[in-house]
């Protein structure tokens, strides 16, 4: 069994993006393999925002990129708009994927420094060879929608814009492709808080206005909670917990999620609601070249027992819509019911 299971997937088949058993491995050196993502499954529904939360190195970006086939996963399936993307030829892939767009953490380096805003935003259209008379009108409308004044930024290049403005350009460029799914990989992590708030509000508004579904990847619990409907917590390429974002700070039960929550500055009081604070027994992330057997979190988990080393915990439901992969949490949850 490769993954931590699929119990969290919902019954119906109306997912706009359906990812099964996604595995991303990077061969390095002699016979060694980085286990970046090890069996990730998601079902993103229309209009939904799924948050993917975890510390750096836990495989968030690799997962997001594999969904875009940049590069394709080592194994697993990615179905988007009823098309299996894994295994498609480049041309078919480009067509099939055009309505799935991605926004990255570092907006400045994801823009060609020599091009002007008007050309950057139109890049996607150019790929399609689109050159209608309404092209400029469409560009202006989209720039306005992301809060940029076309008159001001039209002729500017990336270095003449702030980080927040560059991120708006990236969002505009993605929107111009008329996407149904937007994958955001830490889109606000490099921005100042006041600008982060602008972009989060913008993404939220844009999602409603353009009818998008989103996968939102970040390491900041409060940010992920703010924008998501459901949150999936990853640790070393594995799913720890999937739960509704509403009430997440008091409902989360996986020891790793509790650790993340307890680490939020000033969250001690909020997190205190649910018994003892989680104190990690080690601060070091194990090597993704040789992840721990059984539960990958066990080397840092204060609840770990022998069973955790021997047996991989599978995701199981602890309350409707809330799934946890931990041997010991399941017990606690039963007691609570």
């Amino acid at each position: 069994m490769a993954g931590s299971g699929t119990a969290h997937l919902r019954e119906s088949d109306d997912a706009v993006l359906d990812v099964r058993d996604l595995v991303v491995e990077f061969p390095v050196g002699r016979k060694q393999v980085v286990h970046a993502v090890s069996g990730l499954s998601i079902d993103l529904r229309e209009g939904e925002t799924l948050g993917i939360l975890g510390e750096s190195g836990c495989g968030k970006s690799s997962a997001g990129r594999a969904m875009m086939q940049l590069p394709p996963p080592t194994s697993g399936s990615v179905r988007f708009a009823d098309t299996e993307l894994v295994g498609l030829k480049p041309r078919e892939l480009r067509r099939a994927r055009s309505r799935m767009q991605m926004i990255l953490q570092d907006p400045i380096s994801s823009l060609n420094p020599r091009r002007k805003v008007k050309d950057l935003v139109a890049e996607g259209l150019a790929v399609w060879g689109y050159d209608g008379d309404d092209r400029d009108g469409l560009l202006r409308e989209t720039l306005l929608a992301v809060g940029l004044d076309p008159e001001v930024v039209w002729e500017r290049r990336p270095h003449e814009l702030s980080g927040g403005q560059c991120q708006r350009v990236c969002i505009a460029r993605a929107l111009l492709m008329d996407p149904t799914v937007l994958i955001c990989d830490e889109p606000v992590s490099s921005l100042d808080v006041s600008v982060q708030a602008q972009i989060l509000n913008l993404l939220e508004r844009t999602k409603d206005r353009y009818g998008l579904s989103m996968v939102f990847i970040a390491h900041d619990v409060a940010v992920v909670k703010n924008i998501s409907d459901r949150v999936m917590v990853l640790y070393l390429g594995k799913t720890c917990e999937v739960l509704p974002s509403d009430g997440l700070e008091s409902e989360a039960v996986h020891p790793y999620t509790r650790l993340l929550l307890a680490s939020v500055p000033g969250a001690e009081e909020v997190a205190a609601g649910r018994g003892e604070a989680i104190v990690p027994i080690s601060s070091e992330l194990p090597s993704p070249l040789a992840p721990p057997s059984g539960c990958r979190f066990r080397t840092r988990c204060p609840l770990a027992t022998e069973r955790c080393a021997e047996e991989e915990p599978q995701l199981r439901e602890v309350r409707p819509g809330h799934h946890v992969a931990c041997h010991h949490v399941a017990v606690t949850a039963e007691e609570n019911q």
Partner: protein
């Protein structure tokens, strides 16, 4: 509790800053990165310095340390007094003598301050031998103690390792050990956890807090992250475009900020206990170009309370209650004290 407060208020400040300005002459004009900041800090006290990137926090920290001084295209004016000595009146050599025993600094990226080709141990034993005159052997023993104190497992073995062999969190612990090696009176921590993962961040901040307490160090904690400062500092200075716009006891600031910028900044951080999809309090626009800041209040172009007066006259930093002051013509939920009319141009002098 009350006696403690009284004694700290009576102790003389270990760090005194009056009207500090740091200006860079650039091709685009004069950048007033620090523009008239005054503050003081006593032993055992922790001061938070918050503000968005580019607001002058790092330049202020490095100027306090004496790492930035007048020379070339850089100009420093005003006073920084450490243990009674005016840092910027000292010769370079005298100033370096302060680094270690009097004042030390921890930076955001430990990799830039650790020499990649020298083992961890040497980073620690060098200052111990230089400043404290310890023998090779005594310095090594002290280094082991220091690494152990900052939570590095198996410290004796670590002495032989190179910086790249450690994780980011461990490297930052080493930097803290280096900074503490000569038992400084003042520690300046510039974004010490910004490059680290959240779980590691908390551990490092906890460590800094407990070290400051046990050694009665005066600490300046610089951060763009309000959460890192809330609950870990006694007082906060909020910076905007090179100026201190509000200063207050930490709990009072977070409970009731008076400066519109401080209020908006606090409101723009998503709260963990707020429901999902809560609209955040964003601040429109971006900070000013520091080579060409607006006249009047530098926050005026982004401020939701701005009136004509704001675009015209730079607001003074005025005391609103003991230990609190704000630089705003129309502060939030507080009345300004009556001040005599100031003649034009006299609003340069400020105190925190």
């Amino acid at each position: 509790m009350s006696t403690e407060v009284a004694s700290t208020t009576q102790a003389p400040p270990v760090l005194e800053v009056v009207d500090l300005e740091t200006r860079f002459h650039t091709a685009r004009g004069v950048v007033r990165a620090v523009d008239g900041v005054s503050l003081s800090l006593r032993a055992g006290e922790t001061l938070g310095l918050v503000g968005e990137s580019g607001s002058g926090k790092s330049v202020l920290g490095r100027t306090l340390m004496g790492l930035i001084a007048t020379g070339g295209t850089t100009e420093v004016s005003g006073t920084v007094r450490i243990a009674g000595q005016a840092v910027h009146e000292l010769s370079g050599r005298q100033r370096r003598k302060l680094w270690g025993p009097k004042i030390a600094m921890v930076f955001q990226d430990p990799m830039t301050s650790l020499n990649p080709v020298r083992p961890i141990g040497v980073h620690l034993t060098d200052p111990l031998r230089l400043h404290l005159g310890l023998s090779r052997r005594a310095a090594k023993e002290r280094a082991v103690e220091l690494l152990d104190r900052v939570g590095i497992p198996d410290p004796r073995r670590r002495l032989e390792q190179y910086p790249h062999e450690l994780s980011g969190g461990m490297r930052q612990r080493v930097m803290i050990a280096v900074a503490l090696s000569c038992d400084p009176e003042i520690l300046i921590a510039d974004e010490p956890t910004t490059a680290l993962d959240v779980t590691v961040q908390k551990q490092i901040l906890d460590l800094l807090g407990s070290l400051a307490r046990e050694r009665q160090m005066a600490t300046v904690l610089i951060s763009h992250d309000l959460g890192a400062v809330e609950g870990r500092t006694d007082r906060v200075v909020v910076m905007y475009a090179g100026r201190a716009v509000e200063t207050a006891p930490t709990t009072e600031l977070f409970a009731a900020p008076h400066h519109p910028y401080a209020e908006a900044l606090i409101g723009s951080v998503p709260a963990l206990d707020a429901p999902p999809h809560t609209v955040l309090r964003a601040i429109d626009g971006t900070p000013p170009d520091m080579a060409n800041p607006p006249v009047g209040c530098r926050y005026a172009p982004r401020c939701n309370r701005a009136q004509d007066l704001c675009r015209d006259q730079m607001p003074l930093l005025l005391d609103t209650s003991p230990g609190r002051s704000v630089a705003c013509h129309f502060p939030v939920s507080v009345a300004l004290p009556d001040v005599p009319e100031v003649p034009d141009g006299a609003n340069e002098k400020e105190t925190v």
